[in-house]
Symmetry: C2
C-alpha cells in the first residue's frame, strides 16, 4: 500500500559518495536570516505571521534554513524595516508597506488604499490578477521583493469620543489616522494626528485627540481604547483589507537555494491565512466583551461615507497626476476591483447579507 523507499544501505552509500554524485544527497547549506518585524510581540496575530513562517521553514528544512524574528525596536524601529531590508542590515522584514507611503505613494497600494480591495479580493489580485507581478516590478527598483503574508480584514473606523452624525461633525476633529486616509480626511476638515500606538490611550483619555483608529476589536481591546472612548465606528473604509508582507533583500533572495526558496514561499502562504483566520476567530469575542462593557457600535452615516468616497477620488486624481508609478498601480488595482465587485455583489454579498439578517 505505501510506496516508501527508504534509502537504507544504498542510501548511506549514496551519502558517502557525495563527492562523486552530489545530486543524490546534497550537503545542504545552512542559511540564516534575520527578519525584522514592524510589530511588537504583544500583537500576536500580526507579529505571529512572521513566526509562523520562521517555524515552518525550519521544520521543512530540518533547521537548515533558520530565520530569527525580531520585534520592532530590537534591530531597527518598526517604521524602518524597509530601509533595513534595502540596505541589507537584515535579510528580511515583515511590515505594512503603507508605512513607506512618504517615500513613494506606490508602497501603500501593497497594503491598503482607501475604498480598495477586501481581503479575499486582495488575495485574488496578488496571486491571479497580476498584482504580485506589477507590485514587485516597482519594489525591485528598491532592491526588495515582497511576499504576501497576512491580512487583518476590513478594519474598524476607530474610537470616537463624540458621535459623527453629519459631514460637518468632521470639521476640526483631531483624529489619529495616517497616510492616505489622513490626506482624504483633511479635505473634510479633519486634523490628522500622527501618534505612535503606545501614546494613543493617554491622548484619547486627556482629550488631546478626539478620535483614534487602530485595527479591530482583537487588537483594540488590548490597548484599552474602549475605556476612554465610547463610540466605535465602522467601517474603516481606508483599510478594507490591509495586507501585510514579508519583504526580502533581492541579493539574499537570489542567493537562496531553490528548495529553500520554495519552502519560504509556501510558508508565507501559510502565514497569510494564519493571520486572517486568527483575527476572524478572535475578533467576535473581543467585540462582545467591549459591547457588554458599554461600547456603542456605530456605522458612519451614509452621507459621511459618500463625502469620504468623493474626497478619496480627489486625492487619487492628485496622486496619479504626481506619480506615474502610482498611476500604473492604481489603474491596475482598481481595474481589478471593478470586476471583483461586479462578481461579489452577486452571490457572495447576497449570501452574507441573508445570513446576517437570518441570524439576527
Amino acid at each position: 500500500m505505501q510506496r516508501r523507499n527508504f534509502l537504507g544501505k544504498a542510501g548511506v552509500g549514496a551519502a558517502a559518495g557525495v563527492l562523486a554524485a552530489p545530486a543524490i544527497v546534497r550537503a545542504q547549506p545552512t542559511v540564516r536570516w534575520r527578519l525584522a518585524s514592524s510589530f511588537p510581540k504583544s500583537l500576536d496575530t500580526i507579529y505571529g505571521a512572521a513566526e509562523v513562517v520562521a517555524r515552518r521553514v525550519a521544520q521543512i528544512t530540518n533547521n537548515k534554513f533558520q530565520i530569527t524574528v525580531h520585534a520592532a525596536g530590537e534591530i531597527v524601529p518598526g517604521l524602518q524595516v524597509l530601509d533595513a531590508v534595502q540596505s541589507g542590515t537584515v535579510e528580511a522584514g515583515h511590515t505594512a508597506l503603507y508605512y513607506y507611503f512618504g517615500k513613494e505613494p506606490s508602497w501603500a497600494v501593497a497594503t491598503a488604499i482607501p475604498f480598495g480591495l477586501n481581503a479575499r479580493q486582495y488575495n485574488a489580485w496578488w496571486h491571479h490578477g497580476g498584482g504580485e507581478k506589477i507590485f514587485n516590478e516597482f519594489a525591485r527598483k528598491s532592491g526588495v521583493v515582497a511576499f504576501l503574508n497576512g491580512n487583518t480584514g476590513a478594519q474598524m473606523g476607530g474610537w470616537f469620543r463624540k458621535e459623527i452624525n453629519t459631514v460637518e461633525d468632521l470639521k476640526g476633529l483631531k483624529f489619529r489616522v495616517g497616510g492616505f486616509a489622513g490626506q482624504v480626511l483633511t479635505k473634510l476638515g479633519v486634523v490628522p494626528q500622527q501618534i505612535a500606538g503606545g501614546d494613543i490611550y493617554p491622548a484619547l483619555e486627556k482629550g488631546t485627540i478626539d478620535a483614534a483608529e487602530w485595527v479591530g476589536p482583537y487588537d483594540d481591546e488590548k490597548l484599552g481604547f474602549n475605556k476612554v472612548a465610547k463610540f466605535y465606528y465602522y467601517p474603516g473604509w481606508w483599510e478594507g483589507g490591509p495586507a501585510l508582507h514579508s519583504i526580502v533583500n533581492q541579493k539574499a533572495l537570489d542567493a537562496l537555494p531553490p528548495d529553500f526558496r520554495a519552502a519560504w514561499e509556501a510558508a508565507n502562504e501559510e502565514g497569510n491565512t494564519f493571520m486572517m483566520s486568527k483575527y476572524d476567530a478572535g475578533n467576535p469575542q473581543a467585540l462582545k466583551r467591549m459591547v457588554a462593557s458599554g461600547t456603542v457600535l456605530k456605522a458612519f452615516p451614509r452621507p459621511v461615507m459618500e463625502a469620504c468616497f468623493k474626497a478619496t477620488q480627489e486625492v487619487y486624481a492628485e496622486t496619479t497626476a504626481k506619480s506615474a508609478e502610482f498611476k500604473k498601480l492604481h489603474d491596475h488595482y482598481f481595474g481589478f476591483q471593478r470586476d471583483q465587485i461586479l462578481w461579489f455583489r452577486v452571490t457572495e454579498n447576497t449570501f452574507d447579507d441573508f445570513m446576517a439578517s437570518a441570524r439576527r
Copy 2:
C-alpha cells in the same frame, strides 16, 4: 550582510560521515504517493489545487517526496476517493467530503452544509476555531486525516429554465442538486435529480430537468449551461463556502518523516488560497461573457430564501436526532458561525455593501 554558511569541505566531511553522525546530513528517504482527485483535469481550478500541492512538495524536498495526481477515473471514480484512501489503494486524495454524506452526514460538515460558513469564516473555523480538530477526530475513525485545500466561494444557485417567483414555483421542479440541499428542497416540493456533470447539459437542453446547479461562472461556462437555460439564480445557499480537502491514509501520514509532513502541510495551505483566488479572479470575466450573451441574473426572492432556511432547520433537527456524531459537529460549527456573523455584519459586510453600491 548575508549570513550564509555553506558547508564546504566541512560539509562534505559531514556527509561522508553520515554513518557516524546521521543528524548532520541525513540521507532522506524517497516517498512516493499517489493522489486520487475527485475532479477532471478540465476543472483547472479545483483540480489544480492538488497539482499545486504536488509541485510545491517536490520543489521543497528536491523531488524526494513525489506525489502524482490522478484525475477522476484514472485510478478510481471521483466519488470513490474516500474509499480508496481508507483502503490504502492510494495514499492520498483530493475531494469534496460531502460526496460521502450518504455514509454519514458528518462528512458534509467538512465541505458545506446549507446556510453555513462562507469561505473566510470556514478558514477561521478550521484553523483557529477548533474545526480541524473536531472534524479530524471524526475522520480518523475511518482511518483518514483531512487537510484543508481549497474553497470555491459562495456558489451560484444554478440554471433555471423558468423563473422562480414564489415558493409555489418550486413544487414539482426537477432540479439537479444533491446531498443536503436535495433533502431540504424536497420539503418544498422539489424533485431532486442526481445527474453526473457531463450529463447535465443534454438533460437541461431536452427539458428532462428544469434546473441544475453546478459551481459558479468560471466552471459553469465551460459546461455551456448558459446555452440551455436562461435564468442564473443566486445565492447557492446550500454552498456558502464549500471547502475542498486533501485526505491522507492515516498509516501513510504516520510514516511520513517530519520534514515531509511539514512540507505537505504548508503546500496544502498554498493550495487552499490558490483555489479561492483563482476562482475569484476568473469568475467575473466568465459572468460578464454569459450576461452579454443573454443570461439573466436573478436573486432568489426573499420568501423563497426564508422558506429554504426554515426547511433547512427542519432537516438539521432530523439529522442531529439521528446522528450524535453529526450533532456534535453541527453544534460546534454553527456556534462558531453565530459569532462570525455577529462580527462580519459590522465592518466587513458594511464595507462590501458600500463598495457594491459605490461602484454600481
